[in-house]
């Protein structure tokens, strides 16, 4: 099995805004070539962390290390290898999309050719509109121009903060395809923050859940989501009798007003249903949610 190189590690990151403790010792590790999802409710600290990663904010404590050797104090050595979109991309509205890219290109130490800019315009599907003023662009077009801007320096890491915010469904799908392409076709490492579980689920290889400034869970998305354990919610004609029957199957059941709640493996649900129907219990409703969804919902509700 191939061990992937750690491209970014964050250790004990803390940030205060006045007395507000935004990050409380955050730890993360991102491997090369993966799409890493940073999931958390609004206000969890995702944007603060991302702003620290790109040098917009200075942390009060903790370390950030890129490529296993570059610390925050030498961030300018790492930034030529990083591209980013922080929240929604912003441009000079009075300049064309192409000229905006030319302006951004001048901030890099090595010259970025016209050919490269034209290639990127084509990659993000803005060919034909590149000479129009950005003020005439739709939100989706700006988002794609943002990706082109983040790709100018052919970075190894692309950091995207809530990239689908404000996009219509078509824009979301297009952007999602583009992000997956960046990883698969161009081998980029993508760090993607979002407050939408399904978004991370569909794109990310690994993920971390951040809540109230701490990382509460981190791991491989498929492992986290492939767990068969589900939370079942059941409504039957006779709750106390059904509860006893399910408990005899070895499950710990909790009765909540009109429902029974218990945890089980996905494969066990038909057996439970069979047992209840055999005993003439009428099943009015049966829902199941994966643990991660419940976990995340609990976080977002907090």
């Amino acid at each position: 099995m191939q061990v992937k190189e750690t491209i970014l590690s964050v250790t004990g990151l803390e940030k205060y805004y006045g007395t507000f403790h935004a990050l409380k010792g955050l730890n993360l590790e991102v491997k090369r070539g993966e799409i890493f999802g940073l999931l958390g409710p609004n206000g969890a600290g995702k944007t603060t962390m991302i702003r620290i990663l790109v040098g917009l904010i200075k942390p009060n404590k903790g370390t950030v290390r890129y490529f296993d050797k570059i610390d925050l104090k030498d961030l300018n050595d790492a930034l030529p290898r990083i591209g980013s979109i922080i929240e929604e991309p912003r441009f000079y509205p009075y300049l064309s999309g192409k000229l905006n890219l030319h302006v951004s290109a001048r901030y890099y130490p090595t010259k970025i050719s016209n050919k490269r800019i034209s290639e990127l315009i084509e990659l993000v599907g803005l060919t034909g509109r590149e000479s129009d003023r950005v003020s005439t662009y739709s939100q989706g077009m700006r988002q794609r121009l943002g990706i082109a801007q983040a790709m100018l320096n052919d970075p190894e890491i692309i950091i995207l903060d809530e990239p689908t915010n404000g996009l219509d469904p078509k824009g979301i799908i297009e952007l999602r395809q583009l992000i997956i392409r960046l990883k698969e076709e161009f081998g980029k490492t993508v760090i993607l923050s979002s407050h939408i579980l399904s978004e991370v689920e569909q794109m990310a290889d690994s993920m971390a859940i951040i809540n109230k400034g701490v990382c509460v869970s981190q791991g491989n998305v498929s492992e986290l989501l492939s767990t068969n354990t589900v939370n079942v919610s059941l409504e039957t004609s006779d709750l106390p009798a059904s509860k006893v029957m399910i408990e005899t199957m070895g499950f710990k059941v909790r009765q909540e007003q009109q429902t029974l709640e218990f945890q089980t493996e996905l494969e066990s649900i038909p057996k439970v249903v069979a047992k209840l129907t055999a005993a003439d219990q009428k099943i009015f409703r049966l829902d199941h949610r994966r643990k991660l969804e419940d976990y995340f919902l609990k976080l977002t509700a907090a």
């Binding site: 917009l56 922080i86 929604e88 912003r90 901030y107 890099y108």
Partner: protein
């Protein structure tokens, strides 16, 4: 640094706002030239009516040099405001637009970023002055022709020969440039402290107006703060049209203005280096 400066220049000089000041200058100079062309004699007669009994004036009093001097006197107060309109927006305007965070995620030091902004502010000030020079001096000379300059100042009426005037005007433009760089540095500093576009521009205008008003009060109450009001030194360009020219006084004032610019630049750098970009 050169490439960063190029980016800043493109951003500043492609912005429509940058041309409001330039357009105003062209319009004002054209209006003043036109008014002198048609009614200049009446104005001069009115101006010199008290001297009629003392001496008589021969030659062309209304000439390009006089018009340029009058334009300078009129516009030199407004020029800093026109400059602040652009320079006060260089950082805060980007913060408000959200583009600041994009520039700063690129591999450039904040010192170089602010230095490029500052140089851009200086270039804009220079552009405004060059435009004023071309229109106020060049155009007025073309329309009204050369001639000796009559200047009425605190020492009385001074006549300056045409041959000396080019150098004096050039020196006046250099001094005005130094003054404008001070205002540009002040507005850039205020811009670094703000995340909205209008605040630093308004604040720069308020500082200039308040300082100028205080300077105009010749009361001992204000004496302790007078040396710290940079606006006091900005008006020294007029002394370049005295006879003899008080060189030491002018150089001292220019030095004080440069010092102010450097202090404002230093504060901007220090503040911006440690600023969290959270907008």
């Amino acid at each position: 640094m050169r490439r960063i400066l190029e980016a800043e220049i493109i951003k500043a000089f492609t912005r429509p706002r940058s041309y409001i000041g330039m357009g105003s200058i062209i319009a004002l100079v054209a209006l003043i030239d036109a008014s002198f062309y048609f009614t200049g004699k009446e104005y001069i007669d009115l101006l010199f009516q008290n001297f009629d009994q003392v001496f008589s004036l021969e030659g062309t009093v209304v000439n390009g040099n006089l018009i340029c001097f009058i334009i300078l006197q009129t516009l030199i107060i407004q020029l800093p405001l026109l400059v602040a309109l652009v320079t006060g927006d260089l950082i805060s305007g980007e913060a408000a637009m959200g583009t600041l965070r994009y520039s700063l995620t690129k591999p450039i030091s904040r010192f170089k970023f602010i230095s490029a902004k500052w140089i851009t502010a200086m270039l804009y000030s220079l552009g405004i002055l060059l435009l004023l020079g071309v229109f106020a001096y060049g155009l007025s000379l073309v329309i009204f022709g050369p001639g000796d300059l009559l200047v009425l100042n605190a020492d009385g009426l001074v006549v300056i020969r045409d041959a000396e005037l080019f150098c004096r005007f050039m020196a006046a433009f250099v001094f005005a440039f130094i003054s404008l760089t001070t205002v540009a540095s002040l507005s850039l500093m205020l811009s670094a402290f703000s995340n909205n576009s209008v605040g630093p521009i308004v604040l720069t205008m308020v500082v200039i107006i308040v300082f100028t008003v205080i300077s105009s009060f010749e009361m001992s109450f204000f004496d302790p703060i007078m040396p710290f009001l940079f606006t006091n030194h900005m008006g020294l360009w007029r002394r370049l049209f005295s006879d003899p020219i008080p060189t030491a006084e002018i150089v001292q004032s220019a030095g004080i203005l440069v010092l102010h610019s450097l202090v404002f630049f230093g504060i901007t750098q220090y503040h911006f280096k440690n600023k969290d970009i959270i907008e």
